[in-house]
Symmetry: C2
Subunit: 374 residues, 2 copies
Amino acid sequence: MAASPRGHTINTIPTPALVLDAEKVRRNIERMAAYTKACGIANRPHTKTHKSLAIAGLQLAAGAKGLTVAKVGEAEVFARAFGDREPDILVAYPTVDPARTIRLAALARCGTIRVAIDTPEAIAALSAAASAAGTTLGILCDLDVGSGRTGVPTTDRLVALAAATARSPGLRLDGIFYYPGHVTVLPANQGEPLAAVAAMLQEAIDAFDAQGLCREIVSGGSTPTAFQSHHIREGTEIRPGTCVYNDLNIVRGGFGSLDDCAAQVICTVVSDAVANQVILDGGSKTLTSDRCGPAPESGHGLIVEYPDAFIGKLTEEHAQVDIRRCLARPRVGERVTVIPNHICPVVNLHDTAWWWEADGSLQVLPIDARGRLS
Amino acid sequence: MAASPRGHTINTIPTPALVLDAEKVRRNIERMAAYTKACGIANRPHTKTHKSLAIAGLQLAAGAKGLTVAKVGEAEVFARAFGDREPDILVAYPTVDPARTIRLAALARCGTIRVAIDTPEAIAALSAAASAAGTTLGILCDLDVGSGRTGVPTTDRLVALAAATARSPGLRLDGIFYYPGHVTVLPANQGEPLAAVAAMLQEAIDAFDAQGLCREIVSGGSTPTAFQSHHIREGTEIRPGTCVYNDLNIVRGGFGSLDDCAAQVICTVVSDAVANQVILDGGSKTLTSDRCGPAPESGHGLIVEYPDAFIGKLTEEHAQVDIRRCLARPRVGERVTVIPNHICPVVNLHDTAWWWEADGSLQVLPIDARGRLS
């Protein structure tokens, strides 16, 4: 797992510290591996959550077919995660400018690189770059199934993108991409929105088949819907990210428990000078300003040791914690454990995490792809 | 200014890119230097905004007395900013745990290190560390003048902290610290809250004098109040941070103009597949989720070329921009300029910035203290 423990214990590491509970990380990885195997769907974890070569290695060892990234800089990092295997990476992000397409086309020399696209401009740019490099990029055409972020809204436009891809040099049409990020209701109530997603995908598949367009891959996913993927039989692979660590978005959305949260931020109480309040040494530069999606007014994270405390306000380096409802009062100098609202951007704020085994041992885990923005 | 231009122009740098307009940065630095000189108050800029040794060097060359940091890791970086001068750094943050106090005490070997404290625990911890290291740490006692974040609320408690400091080995009482972060109304209306702050400080100064306690330094500041500092005659120095770059918080609060915003994020339009919307390649991992303080519903930044566009939603790598009110439609592949809501945490997401001179030349500026959380 890299680097040296520097003689630290969990009680002496400098705070704020991002700590990964090794057992829980392994359990979360194994659970997703077992689920995708059971329903015969490929697992292509999104690395945006952990940004770690070591964690990607665990996911691949557990049977992941390949990896998902958002940015080209992440693809360049994670090409190194495959060891003896040929890299197999999906860039789940529209890639339209030469600063990116040229790098991707070059990366395709060392393995299979696919890109999700939703505009003719992306097709033209990727085709030009791959042609110039003499490589081939796989293309998935992005269908908006309701999240309204990227993807074309109709089968007709999807087929037009696919047909344009199929006739573009340097590109290989591989199928369909979708992102059901809008489906965040409780699992028991997902039947209807998931059925609507499935119907849109089936219509697209039928249209691809009628035109003889390749749809070997139908790639979806997102953590909230991940364990409902067997309800979308049209899908061939999923790209869950957050479930490797989980966070309060997952817990308060009803998609996991606190015990599933494998990543935590250890903070120190640094002040109690203001009445009814303590200050933690983790503010928005440590925990981000992301609110909890399912409970926007629930504060900026949960303090495990003081569940009645309320992290009401973050400034850059201070968390202002209202302790009026707490039975016990946190002491200055005491360390507490914060479960963040949204773990993915939190990880991206930390250069390293501590990999914490059940026996108490610690190792430094680099966040290899932190800050790869382009 | 460091590093190589790599043959890039402003139109070819990979996006999202943090760009610093060199002329505006210099102008902002000179304006604050001239103001503080004119009113006879020391300028100790807070480096949390730029986290850059090069920018700190410009501030010191313009006459800054010393530098302010929040975290010990930042102090360790900025000790290198002083060149031939002896480092003079204020840690504007309560420092209570051995992981920090030991490092600070060691750092005091190479220059003047002061710490703002607000608890007896901090005094004890810093005294123990400085005594063990054989160094001396300067102490400012933190008075809460209304922001309710740190600082003791009464003169009596402030005097008690100061007296405890004065009798603690390894510590040197240097004066009073305050943070008027709650005063964010328009300059024309600041008279009353600033008068209240001044009255609290005068009461504290009188009490210090009555007890023979040193109050050589009375350190305040924050960008919104910075240019009103002459109304607080009790203050001897200010610690403005944001004004080196400025942002929408400053502009929409009425404390500066768009033309004063020296830092911008260049983004590329990567999708227009969804109606009435374009996607930029800068999401919360580029711009943060910080809302605009004075206008929380104004979106996640301003697009200079399309002021009628509304950045309504950020996910990690996508900005969803509503373009319904725009006269012209941004094209896929086009680059746009985003002024962020809150520049300080944005800078902390970027490993480097581009230093952009009026002649078009570019240099890579490292964000030296990025991610120094502890």
